[in-house]
């Protein structure tokens, strides 16, 4: 699990953690019932305050991404499979839109773009 914290970002640190853990869940890097590092350990590793990681975990728990077992720790919650897939599709859509915008800015046609997409789709494992 990689979490990268930027101290110069305007985004509060707890939000950076929440966003990145959500992404890891959506991408399937963190799966149901996987144990997360403890609040204190994560704070120590990231060199941030315990309150910050605590707030991040509370937010994730409130939104149903994780659940905590008193005395044991926090685990990844069961995700709604449909919802998860929908979210992943949204990610693909976002990236496609980005590609289309880039293509339009250099006046590639839809056919050209489609050819490219087909080529890469077959190439990438």
């Amino acid at each position: 699990m990689d979490i990268i914290i930027s101290n110069s970002s305007q985004e509060p640190i707890y939000e950076q953690i929440v966003r990145q853990i959500k992404n890891l869940i959506m991408r399937g890097d963190l799966v149901e019932n996987e144990l997360l590092p403890s609040i204190r350990n994560l704070a120590k590793e990231l060199q941030i305050s315990v309150i910050t990681t605590k707030r991040a975990y509370e937010e994730l728990e409130r939104d149903g991404y994780i659940y905590s077992v008193p005395g044991k720790g926090s685990y990844i919650a069961a995700q709604n499979k449909e919802l998860l897939k929908e979210m992943r599709i949204k990610i693909v859509e976002g990236k496609l839109i980005e590609a289309i915008e880039a293509a339009k800015s250099i006046e590639l046609t839809l056919d050209e773009l489609y050819e490219m997409l087909k080529l890469f789709y077959e190439e990438v494992v």
Binding site: N7, P12, Q47, V50, I51, T52
Partner: protein, 288 residues
């Protein structure tokens, strides 16, 4: 939950300086940074907690117990590090330990030796042969070797290089892996706290300016830069303090969200450091 440290309406008057109505509450499991400029009252407060000074009025509770009535019991559970070494210069590290350890009920030689080794301090060295950083680490090793639950430190990082300071911060982060322990330390080097402190208590001229979670503080205040023309009597009220220069101004906003709402695109809002916050609060009292 019982507070690991609780100060209620503490007062102490000297001829030219006064601690006025101090209130601090700290929970176990966290690190609290105690900041303020030189002469603000940090050391006086710590000396009052340790009962090295007599208070005029108010209440100090450590582990939920009165700090004078239960002084002995409390001090057995406190690790105390002062800004300067108070060991006998001529004695060796081992001799120093032999003098200090009998004072503590739960002294643990094994832990002490582990810290010495980790810090690279040779037990046979004389105190006077140790560098300033080494002396601080020795103080810390002693403070951590009697199963202390509360670590109180007065300016532990002053005069230390950034490497030793960063090592100290790692030790503190390690310590609070145990959620029953707490750390309270004063410093005027706020960059040490920007990262790991959970709570910040800011004292100036003997009064507490604020005592809150660091995240809330850094979330609330904003460092604002903009053209001087946007400053009028009304917008000036949004700031703790303002510094004007030839080409514009910089100020600390009391509430960055409000400033964003009112000034919008006309000003740049940045995240302040604790240094910025300390600077503007103390500058204001200078200017008025």
């Amino acid at each position: 939950m019982e507070h690991i440290l609780e100060i209620n309406n503490l007062n102490k008057k000297f001829r030219e300086f006064e601690l006025k109505d101090l209130n601090i509450k700290m929970d176990k499991g966290y690190i609290m940074g105690f900041i303020g400029p030189n002469g603000a009252g940090k050391s006086t407060t710590i000396k009052l907690i340790m009962n090295l000074l007599k208070k005029d009025s108010g209440e100090i509770k450590v582990f939920g117990m009165d700090n004078i009535i239960h002084e002995k019991e409390i001090k057995n559970r406190i690790g105390f590090v002062m800004d300067e070494s108070h060991f006998y210069e001529e004695l060796t590290v081992t001799e120093t330990k032999r003098i200090i350890s009998p004072f503590y009920k739960d002294w643990d030689d094994k832990t002490f030796n582990k810290y010495l080794k980790g810090f690279g301090i040779s037990p046979a060295k004389r105190i006077k042969e140790l560098s300033k950083g080494m002396k601080m680490k020795l103080s810390l090793a002693i403070a951590l070797s009697h199963n202390a639950q509360l670590l109180i430190m007065d300016e532990p990082t002053s005069g230390l290089d950034p490497i030793v300071r960063s090592e100290l911060l790692e030790i503190l982060a390690d310590l609070i892996q145990d959620e029953n322990k707490g750390v309270f330390f004063s410093t005027h080097i706020t960059s040490d706290l920007d990262k790991i402190a959970d709570y910040i208590t800011f004292i100036n001229e003997g009064r507490i300016i604020f005592s809150a979670s660091k995240d809330d503080i850094l979330e609330k205040y904003g460092l604002v830069k903009g053209a001087k023309e946007i400053l009028d009597n009304e917008t000036k009220q949004l700031f703790v303090g303002i510094k004007e220069n030839k080409y514009g101004f910089e100020g600390l906003a009391k509430d960055k969200h409000e400033v964003k709402k009112i000034l919008g695109e006309k000003a740049v809002v940045e995240k302040p450091s604790l240094d910025d916050i300390m600077l503007y609060f103390t500058r204001r009292t200078l200017n008025v």
